[in-house]
């Protein structure tokens, strides 16, 4: 396509945009992205929205359609208040991992900003979504919008039939366990709307057909577990655990399949929340890489546009201003500091990989022999984007130069010591330690507590046992855990015990109990 150009040869003049200049700019960006950088993207769909619509999209976790829940409303009223008071700006864009890849851009943006946003979202994020192995394995870009549509309708229908309160109760509980509704080791089948509907119908039908009121009247079993000897008991436990597929790390899955008291629609809602959690799981694991990729891409494209004389000095200045705000990393003693900025870290690392490929130093040859000086920055980066997640990416590619530039240091915090100790800094002795620690900080399996369903007392009071494997003595936040445990209990319908198990010794460190009100405590 031939790009429309103004008299001066620029794609656009001034700040205002219209659909023609938007299209011309898109074409110029596409040319650089595909032909120079070799990006591979889903077809793009760019949607222009107003700030109100952006606020709407914000509150429903960035998805174009979503079921209703009060927690989204809470986010909405808070963002709304913050935005109106000017405490918080809105994102310039939201991008959705779908095919076609939908990017929302705000009408308030200047044309320079729209160029940045398109380069960032429609090419940077889009390429990452399409090529990263986690997204390929875990998410279904084709089907997500259909699935959300199904979820939204289904939950609305449940609200009609069973009332707001009943649905809200289930959703609250499901949301509390959303982070633990993910299969970490085996990725799921890709959901398909027709199959989902069919499966839902079959589940209801099966229940209708096999319902027999007699089961309710059966007497309780008679053999007392106390009578069994140890070996027999252990055997029973093994059988039980095999029957339920225990241990099970996906709490929502376990409850959906096995909680005795749930209605079929309640199970379906658990499944919906679980599927949505699963969909977002790769995004949580690749924040640094995803944003880094998008920032690297937009930075490169904008500079190329300028080099080719397609945008003016004014536009590139505007770009540099917003770009440097986005990749700003406050230092640890800055009041604005709230952890590593994934944009800053990702961008710095990717720029550095580019540098290593093109202008390596002695040090780079020593640290990265296989990529230093290969003069193929784009191919190297595409390779990295496709095959790593944050943790492994940092472990593999964080270079001494980036550590020095950001002046990283590692703090060793031991609860037993009355002070914090500096464990390593950005020097020859420290690089590897700092890098390992930073990688661990970005490892989701370290960041999120390790919970598993380990046992069910089938013959007794149906107590459910959940183990929290405690690493390095890091406990759960108690008040939060108590509430969340209550939600498990509510779904399970009987007592639940949460045991903290030490990872090294296997000994049970503490227990937390949930007892439903109508049961006597154990």
């Amino acid at each position: 396509m031939t790009a429309r150009k103004t008299k001066s040869g620029l794609l656009f003049d001034g700040a205002d945009w219209d659909f023609d200049s938007l299209k011309a700019t898109y074409d110029a960006i596409e040319d650089i992205a595909l032909n120079e950088m070799g990006l591979d993207v889903y077809p793009n769909q760019i949607e222009v929205i107003t700030s109100e619509q952006m606020l709407d999209a914000y509150s429903s976790i960035g998805m174009p359609l979503m079921y209703h829940h009060w927690s989204f409303g809470k986010r909405f009223v808070r963002d709304d208040a913050m935005y109106r008071k000017g405490y918080q700006g809105l994102a310039y864009e939201i991008v959705i991992n779908s095919n076609p890849c939908i990017s929302y851009v705000m009408e308030e943006n200047t044309i320079g900003m729209q160029a940045l946003v398109m380069a960032h979202a429609a090419f940077g994020h889009n390429h990452f979504f399409k090529n990263n192995y986690l997204f390929k394995q875990w998410t279904d870009a084709e089907g997500i919008l259909d699935y959300l549509q199904f979820a939204k309708r289904y939950i609305a229908k449940c609200e009609d039939r069973f009332g707001f309160d009943a649905v809200e109760r289930i959703l609250d509980a499901a949301h509390a366990l959303m982070d633990h509704g993910v299969n970490r080791y085996s990725h799921p089948e890709k959901p398909n709307l027709a199959v989902e509907l069919e499966r839902e119908r079959e589940r209801a039908k099966y229940e209708d057909e096999t319902y027999n009121d007699l089961w309710r009247t059966l007497p309780q079993h008679d053999d007392d577990p106390e009578d069994l000897d140890d070996q027999k008991r252990r055997l029973r436990q093994e059988q039980r655990r095999a029957q339920f597929g225990l241990p099970e790390e996906n709490l929502l899955y376990f409850l959906e399949k096995n909680a005795p008291g749930l209605q079929s629609w309640e199970r379906e809602i658990l499944r919906i929340v679980r599927n949505i959690g699963q969909y977002f799981y790769p995004q949580k694991q690749t924040k640094v890489m995803n944003e880094g990729c998008a920032c690297y891409v937009h930075y490169h494209i904008m500079n190329r546009l300028y080099d080719k004389g397609l945008i003016s000095e004014g536009a590139i200045m505007e770009f540099i201003d917003s770009h440097s705000k986005v990749v700003f990393q406050p230092e640890y003693d800055d009041p604005r500091y709230s952890g590593f900025n994934p944009y800053a870290l990702g961008f710095a690392m990717m720029q550095d990989i580019h540098r290593i490929c093109v202008e390596p130093t002695e040090e780079d040859h020593k640290w990265f022999p296989d990529i230093a000086g290969n003069n193929q920055p784009f191919a190297t980066l595409r390779e990295a984007w496709a095959h790593y997640r944050d943790e492994s990416f940092i472990l593999q590619f964080l270079s001494p130069k980036v550590m020095r530039d950001m002046r990283m240091f590692m703090i060793n915090d031991q609860a037993s010591a009355p002070y914090l100790q500096v464990g390593a800094i950005h020097d020859d002795n420290g690089y590897r330690n700092v890098r390992r620690a930073l990688a661990r900080m970005h490892d989701l399996s370290v960041r999120e507590p390790d919970l598993q369903v380990v046992d069910v007392d089938l013959r007794g009071n149906r107590q459910l046992y959940i183990a929290h494997t405690q690493h390095d003595g890091i406990r759960l936040d108690k008040s939060e855990a108590e509430l969340a445990l209550g939600y498990i209990g509510q779904l399970w319908g009987y007592g639940v015990t949460l045991q903290a198990v030490d990872n090294d010794s296997g000994e049970i460190l503490s227990e937390m109990h949930y007892t439903p009100e109508d049961l006597v405590p154990v």
Binding site: I49, D56, E331, F340, R407, G423, H468
Partner: protein, 446 residues
């Protein structure tokens, strides 16, 4: 391949459902916050939507997270300035901030309070929840003569100006398809075929071919004639297709109200007392505004004489003199007769006073109210503003002021149309107001 889609015209407010669910969830807290707000704030600001703060506790979204501190952990921070390995740093005290910040959970306990803005309507809905205007519309006014025009579906007859094109064309299309009216394109096609064949025959072609063509031509001609006949017989738009927008006259109930504010402004009413009275009047005004499209306010102040004044004078200028309440009632009666015919206006009145009255005036007031004013009013509220200490000194032996004593019997005899309440401090205003207009009370009266 890519698309740019302009979504700006799409409906906004997709979050309204979420917002409503949120409001439902936090209803109890929001209600409390709204009530606290009006205790502490000037009545004049209340009418706007307002930022309110509710405790974040019930809005928590718990989950399993790691505790912010404890255990052995390593973390990396940017911006080293002077540290070398082995340096010891005092553990930051209090709060989860400082060096441990990177591990603090995002939805942790930091979120103690939750601030957001209610829209004006949401605010007023909560504010006036459970309140109902007594005798919202006068019974005599239900046969009102005012009408307004409203859309009322479609009809098969009407004036051409009201023709609904979309409906008409839809019917026409359906009828044409149903009756197989040939399309003009089909006729054109036939004609072209005939023309082509005729042209071919005019040329030099073998005889058998010519005959075959003649036969086809005949058939085509017959088909064309039939098509033309049908298209003539079946109208493009038939009178049975036409649909007209229908309008209907809908009786419009009387929605204008007048509110009389009567206040004693004699020396005994202090500024604070007037402030309290003002709050009550403002509340009533807002409340009426929600029910009636058009609300007029008449301010009557009195000492030993009464006069109608503007709002500024009513609340802020001082007067001296004795107190004769009946003068105000006389004035109200006069204005009513002059400007507000009972059959066109819903009439409400609120009187604020400290209870003082000229000793022989009580009977006259009662008579005026019972005979002239109350029969015309929807509701008459008397609030007595008392200073607790003063009340002890000035009240009569039974603990009642002169005016209260005179009015008290009316409350019983007037079947709920008349109410009287005491107010001591700003915080009393809203409870008293609620009590006066509480829904169940209104029902009890019916």
């Amino acid at each position: 391949m890519f698309h740019i889609i302009d979504r700006r015209k799409n409906p906004k407010g997709k979050s309204i459902g979420n917002r409503q669910r949120f409001m439902r969830r936090a209803k109890a807290q929001i209600k409390k916050a709204v009530e606290d707000t009006i205790k502490t704030r000037g009545i004049t600001d209340i009418d706007n939507g307002d930022q309110i703060t509710i405790p974040g506790k019930t809005l928590r979204e718990p989950g399993f997270h790691h505790a912010g501190r404890g255990g052995d952990r390593n973390y990396v921070l940017p911006g080293n300035k002077k540290f070398v390995p082995g340096d010891r740093i005092a553990r930051p005290q209090g709060g989860d901030g400082g060096a441990g910040g990177s591990q603090a959970s995002p939805d942790g306990e930091g979120e103690d309070e939750f601030q957001f803005v209610l829209t004006r309507d949401e605010f007023l809905d909560i504010f006036f929840e459970d309140l109902e205007l007594p005798d919202l519309l006068k019974k005599s006014l239900k046969q009102t003569t005012a009408f307004r025009t409203a859309r009322a579906g479609y009809s098969v007859e009407g004036s051409p100006a009201n023709l609904n094109l979309v409906r008409t064309m839809r019917n026409s299309l359906a009828r044409r398809i149903g009756l197989r009216r040939p399309k003009s394109s089909e006729i054109r096609e036939l004609e072209e075929k005939i023309a082509a064949l005729t042209a071919e025959n005019a040329g030099d072609i073998p005889q058998p071919q010519k005959q075959a063509n003649e036969a086809t031509l005949k058939l085509l001609q017959a088909e064309l004639d039939e098509a033309k006949r049908r298209s003539k017989a079946i109208a493009f738009i038939d009178p049975i297709d036409t649909r007209y927008n229908q309008f209907r006259q809908i009786p419009d109930p009387n929605t204008q109200a007048v509110m009389f504010c009567l206040m004693d402004v004699s020396g005994s009413m202090s500024e604070q007392m007037k402030e309290l009275a003002k709050r009550f009047f403002m509340l009533l005004h807002m409340f009426l505004h929600r029910r009636y499209e058009h609300v007029e306010v008449v301010f009557i102040r009195h000492t030993s004489r009464a006069s109608e004044v503007d709002e500024q004078t009513f609340f802020y200028s001082r007067e001296t003199g004795g107190t004769i309440v009946s003068t105000a009632l006389e004035e109200m009666k006069r204005i009513l007769a002059e400007r507000y015919p009972v059959d066109q206006w819903n009439i409400y009145a609120a009187q604020a006073s400290d209870g003082d009255n000229y000793s022989n005036d009580g009977a006259k007031c009662t008579a005026l109210l019972a005979e002239d004013l109350l029969p015309k009013c929807q509701y008459y509220a008397y609030i007595e503003i008392t200073d607790e200490r003063e009340a002890e000194i000035f009240s009569t032996a039974e603990g009642e002021t002169a005016l209260w004593k005179a009015y008290a019997p009316l409350a019983q005899s007037q079947n709920g149309r008349f109410a009287l309440k005491r107010v001591k401090k700003a915080a009393d205003i809203f409870p008293v107001f609620r009590e006066l207009f509480a829904k169940n009370k209104a029902e009890a009266r019916i």
